[in-house]
């Protein structure tokens, strides 16, 4: 219950913030906001001991019961890690933002978004019900959208926001489809129930689709290739946002999803290859692209992409352990997952710190462009120190936490090479090579951050503002993170035992308590392949960094220059242009075209199905005889009708229509329908009078200047329509299947006291029709009045005038 | 033959005569040279035709079913009243909408009266 409440608290706070914001004048609103994450962090931290002891917490509020959609929260080791990151980093980010954002900004709005995001993120990691997870998942996309476009008057902000929204929401929708498929398979939306029963369904084709769709959601959110393109543009957000959402928390929702679904999908070859393959490739692409960036924030964005790829690939590798279920041999493969979780935490610390550093630089100097920066070490010593710690950790150097997880990453890859399952052999080697190359680039860009910003010469004229060290308050948050970076290096097993162990149990329920599931983390593990790889990275990385101006040219080589962003933009432009083109092609605005579509549809659908089903069996035996005069009248009608087509003047056509109308009245007489004959006669006359009334104002007909081809086409359409109507009618006449209900009405006098059956039907049996028909007539009458009399004053600007 | 049968027969005969008159008048409609002469065929001969038919019908119902059909009588009166008016209006409309008389026409005492005054009217309206 309290856990459920913890999700709601940020939302509740978000509601109250605007009110508080209006009231207070002399205090930064952030000080009120920060209470929320701190309190939540403390609250959640209090669960660490019990969770470490293997407890889990579950609470359900029924929501849409009939659909099995509940508000079900579930706290276990895995969720706890994320929840702590969300609230912990959240507290620090808000602290940082208090100093970073001036009071001139619309802070109320900012914190509302931020709290919304925090609540949503907590919701994602604490959900058991897939639908609830989806709810919060989309909410994170939305709050991210709002935060990226916080400065919405900037074009780039809007662009970045749109891009992230489109990509992440699309992924979300795919994920939703995957979730629904899972529910269809297992009959439940509860993750725990699905985990428990999924074994029976892994052979269903739907299972694979569900997996791929869920992965689509995860990949888009976690900026995996090729969906990573939204992340660099998301850097238009204020830096605290970037630090929080786009490095530490939201982008890890996808990681969380993969971790959460490993017990469900892990053990499948597709899952293994997709997750680890995409992860590794993302790692490579991200790190490679990071090097060429000149904007520090963009560089960090690409670095985040690559680091997320790293974590992702680790989860992929770790899933192998589930292929055959628990055995002492397969435990070794779980180490990748352990590394993933560990690196996840580490990444949050060092990347968070680095973002804040970049923010400080930007805030103090007014620029983040590496080419303008240099020599900041001299007057920003603390900032420099933090940057150094963060970067070196990222590069995988000791004595920082990044080193530990990087080593474990290499080890996992080495292990994977020996993998028997999924016949990984050669692919494993490829993985290893890719990872190593990516790590080299990682090393290079990490060095760029430190050396090109803080070393070298400072050129005051290149920056916008006079330079000095940041205020104390702004430094607190990154410092805390830096302390963690170092601290975790020295006490990794605290994290391992208290946070990672329960998380591992959550991911590998069947391995619970297994020997070696939670390894003892050591900084020094001898000269194993992983260490050699690290050494290689340092050597090659240093060389590449030193010689960077000589090989920068590779970024202009064709395949490497190609940019997914350009493709995305071109895609959108093409989509809009193409849509416009296609729509204009058939929506021309001509009534005639539309009618042609309708008739064509009629001819194809009805005519086609008549031919296809062969429903044209006729039976003429029941036909009444034709008198000569009747035939002649029909002939006259046919002539009149045909003449209408060729009529050269409007009035001739009207007269011919009158002939038709009056002749029909005669036919009604022949068919024994006196009431109809009467009505038809009067209506025809009044209609003709109306034609004449409106006629005077129209100019004489011009000859239709349609092309001969058009006329022939029209003729064909008309003839086909006429033929179909006739054929179908003949078929119906030959296939009367029941006696009509109208026999009943022949008792009209007894039932309704009238001798005119038609009239009793109209006035009594079906009086409701008649009543409405009168209404129709009435509407037409008043409508004509309105149509003619109501002339609004303003004239056509093609714009709504009311 | 009883009186009734004779009555019925006379009725039918009148109707047949009506039919013949009708065909003849439509023959005129095709044959005559201009709308004015055709109007003679149409309004009168066909009026005659319908009058004959309706009278026949009246007789038929009278003798066959001893039924005095006020509606048919009214119909006869109605055709009497309206057919000439319709003819008159149409011919006038034709003339005023400047439909030409056939070439064989010999005199036209209306032309000057109608168009002289009209052109005078035009003159006055020009001044104002």
């Amino acid at each position: 219950m309290t856990i459920t409440l913890s999700i709601f608290i940020p939302f509740l706070a978000a509601i109250f913030i605007p009110f508080i914001y209006k009231r207070i004048q002399n205090r930064h609103i952030g000080w009120f906001v920060i209470i929320v994450p701190i309190a939540l962090f403390i609250f959640l931290a209090s669960f660490i001991p019990s969770i470490a002891n293997g407890s889990t917490y579950m609470h359900t509020i029924r929501w849409i019961d009939s659909a099995g959609i509940h508000f079900a929260t579930y706290l276990d080791g895995l969720s706890l890690i994320f929840a702590l990151l969300i609230t912990g980093v959240g507290s620090l980010v808000i602290l940082y933002s208090i100093y970073y954002l001036s009071e001139r900004e619309s802070l109320g709005r900012f914190y509302v978004y931020l709290l919304l995001f925090m609540g949503a993120m907590l919701g994602v990691v604490l959900s058991d019900n897939l639908m609830m997870l989806y709810v919060f998942w989309e909410l994170t996309s939305i709050s991210s959208f709002l935060l990226i476009a916080f400065w919405y008057h900037r074009k780039k902000s809007r662009y970045g926001a749109q891009k992230s929204m489109l990509i992440t929401v699309s992924g979300g929708i795919a994920m939703l489809a995957g979730f629904i498929m899972l529910q269809s398979l297992t009959g439940s939306f509860s993750v725990r129930e699905i985990v428990a029963t999924i074994g029976q369904y892994t052979d269903e084709p739907l299972f694979l689709w569900a997996m791929l769709l869920v992965l689509l959601g995860a990949f888009t959110k976690s900026a995996q290739f090729p969906f990573h393109i939204w992340l660099p543009d998301a850097m238009e957000a204020p830096t605290p946002v970037s630090a929080y959402l786009h490095s530490a928390t939201m982008v890890k929702a996808g990681i969380y999803l993969v971790a959460r679904f490993t017990p469900i999908f892990g053990g499948e070859a597709v899952w293994f290859y997709t997750v680890s393959g995409v992860g590794l490739f993302t790692l490579l692409v991200g790190s490679f692209n990071a090097v060429k960036q000149t904007d520090l924030k963009a560089l960090l964005a690409y670095s985040t992409v690559s680091q997320l790829g790293l974590v992702m690939s680790l989860f992929g590798l770790g899933s192998v352990a589930l292929q055959h279920g628990y055995s002492p041999d397969s435990v070794i493969y779980t180490q990748a997952t352990f590394a993933a979780l560990f690196h996840l935490i580490n990444h949050s610390t060092f990347k968070g710190a680095l973002f804040m550093v970049v923010g400080i630089v930007d805030h103090e100097l007014g620029t983040r462009d590496i080419r303008r920066l240099g020599g900041l070490m001299a007057f920003m010593p603390i900032t420099f120190t933090i940057a150094l710690i963060g970067s070196f950790s990222m590069a995988g150097l000791p004595p920082f936490n990044g080193f530990l997880s990087k080593e474990m990453f290499f080890e996992a890859l080495v292990n994977a090479r020996n993998l028997e399952v999924f016949s990984t052999g050669t692919v494993g080697t490829l993985f290893l090579v890719v990872a190593w190359i990516a790590s080299v680039f990682t090393f290079v860009y990490s060095m760029i951050i430190v050396f090109q910003t803080f070393f070298g010469e400072f050129h005051p004229e290149r920056v916008e503002k006079p330079s000095s060290e940041a205020s104390f308050g702004m430094l607190v948050a990154p410092s805390v993170l830096a302390i963690f970076v170092v601290g975790i290096f020295f006490f990794p097993n605290v994290v391992g035992n208290y946070l990672l162990r329960p998380a591992m149990t959550a991911i590998y329920p069947s391995f619970a308590g297994a020997e070696g599931l939670v390894p003892h983390i050591k900084a020094w593990h001898g000269f194993n392949p992983a260490l050699w790889m690290t050494i290689g990275v340092i050597i090659l990385g240093t060389i590449l960094y030193k010689l960077i101006k000589y090989w920068r040219g590779v970024y202009t080589i064709a395949p490497l220059r190609w940019n997914l962003d350009t493709a995305f933009n071109a895609g959108l432009t093409w989509l809009e242009g193409g849509s416009h083109f296609i729509t204009r092609m058939y929506m021309k605005g001509y009534l005639k075209d539309y009618l042609v579509y309708i008739f064509t549809f009629f001819i194809v659908a009805v005519g086609g199905s008549i031919l296809w089903t062969g429903s044209y069996s006729f039976d003429f035996t029941d036909n009444s005889p034709i008198a000569i005069n009747e035939f002649l009248i029909v002939l006259a009608m046919a002539g009149a009708a045909l003449a209408m087509i060729f009529a050269k003047s409007r009035m001739t056509a009207i007269i011919l229509n009158g002939v038709l109308g009056y002749s029909i009245a005669l036919l009604f007489v022949v068919f024994r329908a006196p009431d109809l004959a009467l009505t038809q006669t009067v209506v025809e006359t009044v209609t003709t009078a109306l034609f004449l009334l409106c006629f005077y104002f129209l100019p004489e007909w011009k000859k239709e200047r349609s092309a001969r081809k058009t006329k022939i086409m029209n003729g064909i359409i008309a003839l086909s329509a006429g033929t179909i109507v006739t054929v179908l009618a003949l078929a119906v006449q030959g296939n009367k299947m029941f006696e009509s209900i109208s026999v009943y009405f022949e008792d009209a006098y007894l039932l309704a006291g009238g001798k005119n059956i038609v009239n009793t039907i109209l006035g009594d049996f079906r009086a409701f029709d008649t009543m409405l028909e009168v209404v129709v007539l009435f509407i037409a009458g008043i409508g004509v009045f309105t149509l003619i009399k109501l002339k609004t004053g303003k004239e056509d600007k093609d714009i709504e005038d009311q | 033959m009883s009186v009734n049968e004779i009555g019925e027969f006379v009725g039918a005969l009148l109707i047949l005569l009506g039919g013949i008159a009708s065909v003849i008048s439509v023959f005129g409609l095709i044959r005559l040279p201009d709308v004015y002469t055709r109007s003679h065929a149409a309004t009168k001969s066909s009026t005659l035709a319908v009058l004959l038919t309706l009278s026949g019908t009246f007789l038929y119902f009278l003798f066959r079913e001893q039924f005095v059909s006020v509606r048919v009588l009214l119909g006869i009166v109605f055709v009497f009243l309206t057919a000439p008016v319709a003819g008159h209006l149409l011919v006038r409309a034709a003339y005023r909408s400047k439909v030409k008389l056939a070439d064989i026409s010999t005199e036209d005492e209306l032309h000057d009266v109608l168009y002289k005054i009209e052109s005078e009217n035009d003159g006055t309206s020009d001044k104002s």
Binding site: - | I24, Y36, K44, P84, S105, E107, D108, E109
Partner: protein, 160 residues
């Protein structure tokens, strides 16, 4: 004159109430009406006006004149239509009528138009001149004018 009609109706109604004890019938009313006609015919001089049904007789007379004219000219026109060669000389001529009221002029026009071979095309704004289209002006103009005079006289007997 309306007074005579009202009186006639009153007599009929009186008759009806006198004859029928329990049921009202149209036939009784009609019988009463006939009785009334008789009574009023005898008494009409006391009103100082003509007997009101006299017009009826005149109207019937007019009708017969008309029917005879109609038949004669119908045959003429049918003959003209059916003759192998059209020998007609149509045209428009003017006729100044002595009739005054709208009803009179209308009646004249209707009768003339109904008889084949002639159509009234226009009535002058003053209402005293008719413009007539004739199927065959040369041959039948004289006959037509005679016919017109006939009708005028008969009409005046009815209306005046």
């Amino acid at each position: 004159m309306p007074a005579q009609l009202l009186l006639n109706l009153f007599i009929a109604f009186l008759w009806m109430t006198l004859i029928d004890e329990d049921e009202l019938k149209f036939t009784t009313f009609f019988a009463g009406f006939l009785v009334g006609i008789g009574i009023i015919f005898f008494m009409h001089r006391f009103f100082g006006t003509q007997f009101y049904l006299r017009r009826l007789f005149k109207t019937i007379k007019l009708l017969f004149i008309f029917i005879s004219e109609l038949t004669q000219s119908s045959i003429v026109v049918l003959g003209q239509i059916l003759s192998p060669k059209l020998k007609i000389k149509p045209g428009i001529f003017k006729y100044e009528t002595v009739l005054k009221s709208d009803v009179e002029v209308t009646m004249l026009s209707l009768l003339l138009t109904l008889t084949p071979g002639s159509v009234v095309m226009e009535v002058s704004p003053e209402g005293d001149t008719l413009y007539i289209h004739a199927m065959d002006v040369e041959q039948s103009k004289a006959g037509l004018i005679k016919q017109l005079k006939n009708f005028e006289k008969a009409i005046m007997e009815v209306t005046r």
